[in-house]
Symmetry: D2
Subunit: 371 residues, 4 copies
């Protein structure tokens, strides 16, 4: 196996669970409910888009260099840190009747609420591991995703606000007052934004393709209490150059200024060049680079504490290589698997920062730093 002789300079915990892959998003046609003019197919957010990352981590052998944590089931009282009981009850009723749309564009199957509880519980276990020092950083390879879930509405394939619940747990349990969120999923992290918009103790940063999903969400004008929310909408087609510019101009200085005690990464891979939903152009090397930047800041400010929650990413063939790169970087692996797509993507036209992209980033920067 490739990583057999790898050494890892960091203690990275991985939270995975077979049951995460049993969340059933039904035979929707991508993101549309079947009908007489919509043929049943496979939902974009299907198990293989996440399972195959686990497969690759196991097949290459990196798996054996990580420490493994088992998720606990999140009880109602845990979930109520973000969601009202009525939301939990609604999800329960959808599951009981055999599944269906649990909110907006959010299919669920009979077992989905229980599995969503495990996703939340997985984030909490990861948070505890990192806060207690049992691990330096942690990756939660969970389903369903969470960053679109609003307190009272399942949305965008998300049932419960995984990362937000983990943060509330950390605030409550460990009393942290400065937690930063960097969300590079190609869609706006509207759920996380909504939960913490009035909480200056949580800096929420979202890099996303401009106005992709949700509609009319993620604009630069939404700044949050104490300027604690930063949206960086990027033009479609943004690649390596644009994301690096956004990091250097906005993410890095903002994080540095905030001096977080913990960094949370709601990590989607749908900004990859091979994603069916995003129209951006990253390769695994870009995800690796972004991870490294965040790690540098985490090392500087908070003993390297990072918790990654797996969010979107809909390419069953490419998510594995992007996720592996993040895990190799998090764990300080001594060698890295060559991604068969990486050179291919790096050579795509338009990877360098374009004028339009630079202008968009400058607008986001000005909105934040001039405020």
């Amino acid at each position: 196996m490739f990583h057999e002789n790898t050494t890892c300079s960091r203690r990275t915990a991985l939270v995975a669970s077979e049951l995460y892959y049993w969340h059933d998003t039904q035979n929707w046609c991508g993101s549309m409910v079947p009908s007489l003019t919509v043929q049943p197919a496979e939902h974009f957010e299907n198990p293989e888009t996440k399972r195959r990352l686990q497969n690759l981590v196991q097949a290459t052998g990196l798996w054996e260099h990580l420490s493994h944590l088992r998720p606990k089931r999140a009880a109602d009282e845990v979930i109520r840190m973000v969601h009202p009981q009525s939301h939990i009850d609604h999800l329960a009723s959808v599951c009981e009747r055999g599944g269906g749309d649990a909110g907006e564009l959010t299919p669920a199957g009979p077992a989905s609420l229980e599995i969503a509880r495990l996703a939340v519980g997985g984030v909490i276990v990861a948070m505890d591991a990192v806060m207690t020092g049992a691990a330096e950083n942690a990756y939660v390879l969970c389903r369903p995703p969470g960053h679109h879930a609003l307190p009272d509405l399942a949305m965008g394939f998300c049932l419960l606000a995984n990362a937000a619940l983990g943060i509330r747990h950390v605030q409550k349990t460990y009393g942290l007052t400065r937690i930063a969120v960097v969300d590079w999923d190609v869609h706006h992290g509207n759920g996380t934004e909504a939960v913490f918009l009035d909480d200056p103790g949580v800096l929420t940063i979202s890099l996303h393709q401009d106005n992709l999903f949700p509609l009319d969400s993620g604009g630069i004008g939404v700044k949050g209490a104490g300027n604690s929310n930063i949206n960086v909408p990027l033009p479609p087609g943004s690649g390596s150059g644009a994301y690096r510019e956004a990091f250097e101009q906005i993410v890095i200085p903002a994080l540095d200024a905030f001096a977080p005690e913990l960094i949370v990464l709601p990590c989607g891979y749908d900004a990859s060049a091979v994603d069916p939903l995003g129209v951006c152009m990253l390769s695994s090397e870009d995800f690796r680079w972004m991870t490294r930047q965040v790690m540098t800041l985490a090392d500087k400010h908070c003993q390297g504490r990072i918790v990654v929650t797996h969010e979107g990413g809909y390419s069953p063939v490419y998510v594995p290589y992007c996720g592996l790169a993040v895990l190799e970087e998090l764990s300080g692996a001594s060698d890295t698997l060559p991604d068969p797509y990486a050179d291919f993507i790096a050579n795509y036209g338009g990877q360098a920062l374009s004028n339009d992209q630079a202008a968009a980033i400058k607008r986001a920067k000005d909105a934040h730093f001039s405020s």
Copy 2:
């Protein structure tokens, strides 16, 4: 294409519809609802098990030698010839809420009731074609299947009683008084039996694996009004020899005595050697042979009038060859495609009639003819 130069001695109508393949049986694990101990998978009765028959008929070219009929949507008043309105309303409510189990072991998706209406309408169109002489015989390649549907209960993957509704239509429209049903699906044709048990004008014959599904159904003691119901439960493992014996001892003489004006074949292929649900051992050549026997009787008694409704059969790789053989035989095709599995299966041990099988057939025969 293989059948390019085929000539067909009969005018055979085929009713097919793309929408039949859009009936969504969800991600059940075979025939079980997903849960925390049942991983989602594919339902046994999925589109590919029927679509691939259509594919093969098209790829080989036989398609062009058939006449094609388009199904009509069956309105409530048509369906009420067998089912109460409450059943239709129940199915509608299941579909409206996004799908789920419509009865017992019967998944449905949002469009399933409308598609089931097309299945019924397809059978009626086929019946009309055969009764008016527009076609000599007809094959309805429909989904969902129908022979397990009870008047007030969706059951065994069946929403509406396709064949039974077609028969009621024929009785009402054309005044036939002797219609015979030969059901060689590996499961008992309990729905058709239930509809016509008190109707001596419909002879219902079911050959099936002994007590496979439904439980405690299909016994030799259920004889119907005027001895018009014949059950032939066969031991598991029954193959070519057993089915031929059952035909020669029971099906052929019973049909001959009844002298039907129309023969209806609820035709499943789950008695094939490659089926996951049946434990019988037929090859496409056996389905061809049984078809020929029925045709001989139809020629003798009713100008060859036969309507075939596609029922079970859960092997995506083998149903196509079995169904093609039936269609070749129905249409009197001048040449037949070699089935790559046929010799393989014909050589399986136990294809000859066994003592146990002979005894079971004798019991069924005695129950009917001695009564």
Copy 3:
């Protein structure tokens, strides 16, 4: 069915064949050969990405408003109009040994050469129908695709140069001296370009994402004999605005000036917003609009003669709606099916022409018209 009462103002021929869906691209991981570090998966160019268009055309009923042509098998001497015999022999040997990579990134199965012959034959049948007036325009829903195939190299999922062979056939049979090709597949139409680069009688126009595939191909400097080749490389992220600008600034005036006797559209849908390989952002409405522009020019110059060959497009959920829109437009359907994704995509940020896109288009325009 939706299109049941549709009327069509044009006679459109459709060439489809079940066998097109039997071309086997094996269990490649997207576009990579499986290995110990590449898990087998599904090739990007798999049957469902094309079959589901046929399914939708059938399910909605537009199918019945088209005339249907059956492809003929292209013999060696036909294929030799573009490819040397050695290329055919090489493909035959790959198929005979059970399949594998037939060139560069081009998987083939045992039957793939025979199916590729049917794709070529389908294009020729379509060309004949349009040239003889049997149809006003025609759509060839074929696999494998063709626009990357070089005379002596299978490339980019393409075995034989379908469209180029059809054009050679038209030149030879009907003596046309001005044939235009508009290729809006998101990848450069390098194969077609290569075949006709020295032939001023064929104007080849390719709109494509800048330097996506093949590497270092499709630049604005490649102009062809008599300025008969136009490349329009567009920045990644190009959407509705960019494509319309490219049409208005380049495609329409160039076609108008060339006054073609026939227009051929190697039509890929991988510039759609939902494609895994392209990073562009079109909706079905954009494909509809582009089709309409070409039709207007075809009406003006060549009695509406258009032949469309299906090329790339890798979203099984969205290709159907894009292709349906093209077929509705070609056939002058009186009503059009609402695309469930269209509004969603139209609202994405960045659909309007950007400065970078305008500049790129201006460069391509200047390169052509100033020469």
Copy 4:
């Protein structure tokens, strides 16, 4: 998780590897090579039929009660204990050219030889664990299977003779002189039989459906050196009653008389009632019962030493429950997961021993014990 509070009375080792699921059996149509009359599909022996057992063992939590061993790659010299170098070289050449049929009905992909080496290595690791006492018994969840592989021919989906190689390793390393093999895969264990036919130190017993595969193999007349080979061909349709009778009449007394120092179980689940290839009728409870019988004998004769190699079994929905039952039994789990199919199958008609089955078993018994 179901098995969370389970206690296990035995130390059971499990050998699994993600790479086992990367053996690529290509898009064969069941067991047939695609062609112009055979649509590509999925090979019967595909990863999901084995992966889903691992999934269930993980999801229910039994996984955590097992000890996990990692397979080693078997070098040529190890494989040469059974196969000539020419066989290895042939497999290497098939893989190098991208895959294809490696023998008779045995598809392979580019990485298949390397994965087959891991299957062999997994068996050897398991043998060592059991022989050294590191584990009481062991289960090797490997792919590709092995029991049909002949020394010089890949056959029946099997590339290398996994179990036979493990036995040769044990003979050589630990000097055992009495090793028993009980193969209840529904097909005849012809490969294992062939390897040890002349070796009285290995008692090979195969229970299989009469003349299923390979053709004309597995008859009662093949007795081996020192009467060390026992074939028990069972009639199609054999269920719980037949298999228990075969155990009580033949397997148990034969094992008891042989007094083995190690028992090897080439364990297929294709005799299950839900298998597409076998026409038998077992439930998970029957596999559990057979396992228990073998364990009782192993306890009596060889300190419980059993090594199970996973062979056939082609139902992705039912293999998991059968395999889980075997693992629960092997490990002495204090509670067992209810199989959702078990009651259903137990109630099938014909589960009791039939006259034909009794007669067949008696013939096999007489052939062995009277010799």
